[in-house]
Every structure is written in structure tokens, then in C-alpha cells.
């Protein structure tokens, strides 16, 4: 197992754990944290690929033209996307928390299963 594989597998595992958390928890705060976990794991995968995968087009067959096109970008591209995802995650977390707090204000106790007023 190479160096990069560790973080790649870790990223996959974190994603799976995060998705389990989203699926089984009823506290919206914790669901939200699990979503952050998933975002973070995606970031980890991006970072890993940008660090270990940046300039090796010859490992791919020519038939996949999209991937194998000449411009695979520079090593910092992945990092930049991680950075942008972090920023978006910050915005998302703040808005999400504001919504959850607004819900808490009106309901005192929140169970995700009971927030079903928008059902069709």
C-alpha cells in the first residue's frame, strides 16, 4: 500500500461513516456534523489526488478522452478546490446552524423525524 492509499482509504471510510451518521441519527445537529465529516472526507480525497495523481496521464487509456486530455492542471489545482470547498462548507454550516437554531427556538426540542411538515 503506497503512501497516498492510506489517506484515500481513510477518505472512503470517513465518507461511509458520515453517511451512516446522517442516515441513523435523529438530532439535526449531529446529522449536520456528519455532513461536515463527509465534506471533509471529500476534501481529503481531493488533496490526496492533487498530491499524488497530478501528472500521470499515461496510466489511463486513450479512450477516456475527457480524463486523458492534455491539460491535467497543476499540482495546486486540487488544493485550490479543497480551499474553495472549505469556504463553501463554512457558509453552509453557518446557514444550516442558523436554520436549526431558528427551529429550536420555536420547538424547544428537535427530532429530525418530526420535522415532516413539508411532506407532500
Amino acid at each position: 500500500m503506497t503512501d497516498g492509499m492510506i489517506t484515500l482509504f481513510l477518505s472512503a471510510a470517513l465518507f461511509a461513516i458520515g453517511s451512516i451518521g446522517v442516515a441513523i441519527r435523529r438530532n439535526p445537529l449531529i446529522m449536520f456534523m456528519c455532513i461536515e465529516l463527509m465534506l471533509n472526507s471529500a476534501n481529503l480525497a481531493l488533496a490526496t489526488f492533487s498530491r499524488y495523481y497530478a501528472r500521470i496521464p499515461e496510466t489511463l487509456p486513450d479512450s477516456i478522452e475527457l480524463v486523458a486530455s492534455k491539460d491535467l492542471g497543476s499540482a495546486s489545482d486540487g488544493s485550490i478546490f479543497v480551499f474553495l470547498v472549505m469556504t463553501i462548507a463554512a457558509a453552509e454550516a453557518v446557514v444550516g446552524l442558523a436554520i436549526i437554531i431558528a427551529i429550536f427556538r420555536t420547538r424547544k426540542q428537535v427530532d429530525a423525524d418530526e420535522l415532516a411538515e413539508l411532506k407532500g
Binding site: 453517511s19 442516515a23 487509456p61 486513450d62 429530525a112 420535522l115 415532516a116 411532506k119 407532500g120
Partner: protein, 625 residues
């Protein structure tokens, strides 16, 4: 020094300041500011005129405007040549006097700032129109003049008639704008340049096919006819009298209606090229003559002072188009300039009269003003004599130039045109004289106290009177300059003789005036029997024609609204609602409301997607290997 852009910039700046700061400035300062802006523009125009005459024509490029593949010359650039320099001087000079007049005339109005802002804008757009060196920039001024006239004709916006008159003027002008755009499209696509000096050059004219010249020329003519109120697009002009009198003066004298003549002279090489161009010119001359005659007949039947003047403008414009049609471009522009002076004088004098009579415009209710306002009477008299073509006033020289240019030995058509011109001159002298006599000499038919004008209203009249007398001096030079510019030919020095033609014209004018004096000095309202009035007003029937067309559209719309619409409006929403409801109740099944269900659904679908992509990937790798 290149002053030409100042001619545009100063009125624009004045307009901006007047519209934004008039509250801070107060009435007096606003009017002063607007007038000063125009005065500055006039100074710059004069400087440009001198430069053109000292150093020849030039083009001043300010900016590149549009990059259209295949079309060049769409720039913000000014063309300074004798034609545009003369026009600029006329426009700004007359406009300055009218501005000064307005300061007194409009002093009782509330919307002082709006008025002067619009007035300045009007001048600015006209200046832009005149100085543009290409058709596209000219169109900007063309449309701008239409807008500014709209806002000025409808200045009394609480008056329904003013508003509808403004709308009418705007709509008819837009017909011209659209025609202009078509002309631009045709010329741009066929020639590849919109610059006057380029597409009117002999080389590119030779490249144009006859059809192109015909189409472009017809479009340009429609545009000019709409702007210059020629038959059959003339109906807006008499109605435009709803605006304040200074505005009428501006529209009729310096800006707006002269634009059409200017365009025809500017594009003269196009009309002078080939058999198609000649055909167009014949049409132009005939239509011009007809307009001149018909408008003069209309004027005879009018009783409203301003409307008489309005129809006379139409008639004189007809003269100008006739001149352009027979190739006497210099005479056309000369008449334009001289007409600017005396028509401005007439309108402003009419404004003083109307002002003095508290808004009364009917000449049947005037009279006896000569004794009370001798100065005004003199001014009106000078204007009237100039319009009637009595020497030595400027109107005589310019009208003579046109009639001389029209008459041609041995050419029946030209002689006929000349005859129409003489007839029109006779009628012109008559109705002008009638208006003058009824207003100033006939016994008074009003009791109210006169509202005498202040000095700010009178000194522009003095200046214009002077100009109406003296402008004839410059006529010869102007005619030959413009003529050579328009036809690209040097004008042969002709020795004008004081022959039978001139004498006929003067006689026509004198007869007209004499008839007017003898029949109206007692206060008799009209020579025309009432039954003949509708005949004379025939040209106004076009209005009712268009009204009829509009009425049929309206009744069709009424029919739709009553018969068709209810059916659709009741059935269609029902149908839409039912189908939407059905769809949504289907989709509602998907909305369980449980957050976790959604989460799981998202997860499951992304898993499926991942599997799909993975499968695709393996397949293609397998295929690749």
C-alpha cells in the same frame, strides 16, 4: 483648436445640470445656465465654422463605438464641413435666442427645470444629428430629437390634448427612425461603411446596384419625410402646437423639421447617382411641390395663429424638398437657414402676442394690437414679409434661389413645378398677410388687459429681425458652397439677372399681401366660404384615415375581449390547474417528509451513480486494453 465637441457637450451638460440642480439653482439661474450653455455651444460652432473656412473640412474622432464585422465607420466622430458648420451655427444661434426668450415666456411655469433640461437636450441631440459623420451616430441624434420633442410637446402633461399630440409626434417620428434603421442596414450590409465620406464616395456608389440605391434612398426619404412632416407623414406637426410656443419655434425654426432636409442634402450624392437616384429625385420634387401647395391651402383655412405658422412651415419645407429634388441643394439649405430666422421670429412674435392675450390663439379674436405693441408689430411684419418673399428680406433671396433652380427652359415638368411654387408663394403671401392684418391692424375684438412682454422676450425678437434682414447677404456664398459639397462639382459662376421670373415671384407676393390687406383690414375673418374649408383642409383627412384604421383594430380587439377571451380565460386555467394538480399529487407521493428518508435516498442514488460510473470506467478500460 478642435471646438466641435464642445457644441455637443455644453448643451448636454446644461441639460444634466438643469435636470438635477434646478431646485438649488432657482429659476433665474436655471434659465441663465441653459442659455449660457447654448451660447457657449454657439461660440464653439462659430469657431468650427471659421476653422472650416480657414483650413477646410475635417473629421474629429472622439471614440470608437461599435466593432461590427464587415461594417466600418461606426464611431463617435464628427464631420465638420461647410454644411454641418452652417447648420451648427444656425441651430445653436437660433436656439440661443429661443432660450433667452423662454426665460421670460416660461417664468410663470412650475416645471422650469424640466423645461430647460428638455430644451437643452433637444439642442444637444440636434447638434449630434448634424455633426455625426456616420449614419449610426446620426440615428442616435435622430432618435434623440424625437424623444426630446416628445417631452417638450407634451410639456403640459396635465393637458390630455398635449399628451396625445406628443404621443402622435413620437409615433410618427418612430416610423422615420425605423426607416432610418433599415437604410442603415441596407447601406451597412451592401457597402460596408456607414461613414458619409466613405459610402457617398463615387467608388462605393458605383459598387452599389440600382436596387440598393433605390431601397436605401426610399428608406432615407421616408425617414426624412417623417421628421420633416412631409406628405403623408405630416399630421404630427400641426398638433405639435400643443407645446409651449418657444418649443414650437425651436421645432419649426432650428431643430427637428430641418433634419430631414439636412439628411437629403447630406446624402445628395446617393440621390444624384444613376437612373434610380434620378427617379427618386423626381418623386422628391413632386411630393415637395404638392406638400408646399397643400399645406399652403390648409394654412389659408386656419384660424389659429400658431397652426397657420405650422402649416406655413410644412409648406416651406415642401419648398426645400422640391429644391433638393431638382438638385438645388444649396438653395434648399439657404432657404432652411433663412427660414430658421424668420420662422423663429414669427413664432416668437406669435408667442408674445399669445402671451399678451393670456393664451388666446384665435386670430378672429385678436386685432388692434399694432397700436399697443408697435415693436412687436414691426417684428411680425418683418417676419411676414420675409415669409412672403418680398425683397430685400432674406426670404426673398432664398425663395428666389429655389424658384430659379426649379425653372428650366423647355422642360414641362420643371415649369409646372415652378408654377406650383409661384402659386404657393401667392398663397403664402396671402395667409401671412391675413394673419398679420387680423392680428395687428383689424379692429380689436378682445377686451382683456394686455400682458406686455419683458425685455428678455423682446431682445431676441430684435436680433432675429436683424438677422432676417441681413442674412440675405451671405446667401450667395452659402448656396455655392453647399451645392459644390452636395454634388462634388464646382458651381459655375452665373450672372443672375433680374428677369421675368423674379418679377413674377415678387408680383405673386405683392398680390397675395394686397388681397389680404384689402379683404381683412375691416376684421372680416375669412375669404373662404365655409363650405370650401373641408376641401382646403384635405390634407388633414389623412389623420382621420389613420384614426379609422386604428378604430377597426380597436373594434377587433373589443370583439376578442368580449367573445373569445372569456372562453379561453375560463377554460384554460381550469385545464392547467387540473393537469398540474394531477401531476403534483403524483409527485407528492415522493415527499414523505422524513429527513432521513431523503438522506438515504440521496445516498442510494449516489451509490448507484458511483456504481454506474465505475462500471463505465471498467468497461472502457477493458475496451482500451
Amino acid at each position: 483648436m478642435d471646438f466641435i465637441w464642445l457644441v455637443l457637450a455644453l448643451p448636454l451638460l446644461g441639460s444634466l445640470l438643469c435636470s438635477t440642480h434646478y431646485r438649488a439653482l432657482g429659476k433665474a439661474a436655471t434659465g441663465m445656465l441653459a442659455s449660457l450653455a447654448i451660447l457657449g455651444a454657439f461660440g464653439a460652432a462659430a469657431a468650427t465654422w471659421f476653422r472650416v473656412h480657414a483650413a477646410g473640412s475635417y473629421t474629429s474622432q472622439l471614440a470608437t463605438w461599435l466593432h461590427i464585422p464587415g461594417v466600418s465607420g461606426v464611431d463617435v466622430a464628427a464631420l465638420a464641413d461647410p454644411l454641418s458648420a452652417t447648420m451648427l451655427c444656425t441651430v445653436t444661434g437660433v436656439a440661443f435666442l429661443i432660450h433667452c426668450f423662454s426665460m421670460g415666456y416660461m417664468s410663470d411655469e412650475e416645471d422650469y427645470g424640466r423645461f430647460f433640461a428638455s430644451l437643452n437636450l433637444f439642442v444637444a441631440t440636434m447638434v449630434l444629428l448634424v455633426m455625426a459623420n456616420n449614419l449610426a451616430l446620426l440615428l442616435v441624434g435622430w432618435g434623440g430629437v424625437g424623444y426630446a420633442s416628445y417631452s417638450l410637446i407634451g410639456f403640459y402633461r396635465q393637458k390630455p390634448s398635449a399628451v396625445s399630440a406628443a404621443r402622435k409626434a413620437f409615433l410618427i417620428n418612430v416610423v422615420g427612425d425605423v426607416a432610418m434603421m433599415f437604410a442603415i442596414f441596407i447601406i451597412g450590409s451592401r457597402v460596408g461603411s456607414l461613414e458619409f465620406t466613405s459610402f457617398l464616395g463615387p467608388a462605393s456608389l458605383d459598387r452599389m446596384s440600382g436596387e440598393t440605391i433605390l431601397a436605401a434612398g426610399v428608406c432615407l426619404m421616408i425617414a426624412a419625410y417623417a421628421k420633416s412632416a412631409q406628405l403623408p407623414l405630416h399630421t404630427w406637426l400641426p398638433d405639435a402646437m400643443e407645446g409651449p410656443t418657444p418649443v414650437s419655434a425651436l421645432i419649426h425654426a432650428a431643430t427637428m423639421v430641418t433634419a430631414g432636409v439636412y439628411l437629403m442634402v447630406r446624402c445628395a450624392p446617393l440621390f444624384g447617382h444613376g437612373p434610380e437616384g434620378a427617379d427618386l429625385m423626381v418623386i422628391m420634387a413632386r411630393l415637395g411641390a404638392i406638400t408646399a401647395l397643400v399645406a399652403a391651402l390648409c394654412a389659408v383655412a386656419q384660424n389659429d395663429l400658431k397652426r397657420i405658422l405650422a402649416y406655413s412651415t410644412m409648406s416651406q419645407l415642401g419648398y426645400m424638398f422640391m429644391a433638393a429634388g431638382v438638385g438645388a441643394y444649396g438653395a434648399a439649405i439657404f432657404h432652411l437657414v433663412s427660414h430658421a430666422f424668420f420662422k423663429a421670429l414669427l413664432f416668437l412674435t406669435a408667442g408674445v402676442v399669445i402671451h399678451a392675450l393670456h393664451g388666446e390663439q384665435d386670430i378672429r379674436k385678436m386685432g388692434g394690437l399694432g397700436k399697443k405693441m408697435p415693436g412687436v408689430q414691426l417684428a411680425f411684419l418683418i417676419g411676414a414679409l420675409a415669409l412672403a418673399g418680398i425683397p430685400p428680406l432674406v426670404g426673398f433671396w432664398s425663395k428666389e434661389a429655389i424658384l430659379l433652380g426649379t425653372f428650366q427652359d423647355g422642360n414641362m415638368e420643371r415649369q409646372l413645378l415652378w408654377g406650383v411654387g409661384i402659386l404657393t408663394a401667392l398663397l403664402t403671401a396671402y395667409y401671412t398677410g391675413r394673419a398679420y392684418v387680423l392680428t395687428f391692424w383689424a379692429p380689436a375684438r378682445h377686451e382683456s388687459e394686455l400682458h406686455l412682454p419683458g425685455s428678455s422676450m423682446t431682445w431676441p425678437l430684435a436680433v432675429l429681425s436683424m438677422a432676417s434682414v441681413a442674412a440675405g447677404l451671405a446667401g450667395h456664398e452659402l448656396v455655392s458652397e453647399v451645392q459644390s459639397l452636395a454634388t462634388h462639382l464646382p458651381v459655375a459662376e452665373t450672372h443672375e439677372t433680374f428677369g421675368a421670373l423674379q418679377i413674377t415671384a415678387i408680383l405673386a407676393g405683392l398680390i397675395g399681401l394686397g388681397v389680404a390687406y384689402s379683404s381683412h383690414k375691416t376684421g372680416r375673418a375669412s375669404l373662404v366660404p365655409d363650405s370650401a374649408v373641408p376641401v382646403l383642409l384635405g390634407c388633414e383627412s389623412i389623420d382621420s384615415l389613420s384614426k379609422g384604421a386604428a378604430g377597426s383594430f380597436r373594434s377587433f380587439a373589443d370583439m376578442v375581449a368580449v367573445k373569445v377571451d372569456p372562453v379561453i380565460s375560463q377554460q384554460a386555467p381550469d385545464l392547467i390547474q387540473r393537469s398540474l394538480y394531477g401531476t403534483s399529487s403524483l409527485l407528492c407521493q415522493l415527499q414523505g417528509g422524513s429527513l432521513r428518508l431523503y438522506a438515504v435516498a440521496v445516498l442510494a442514488s449516489s451509490t448507484l451513480l458511483a456504481l454506474f460510473v465505475y462500471g463505465l470506467f471498467s468497461l472502457s478500460i477493458g475496451a482500451g486494453q
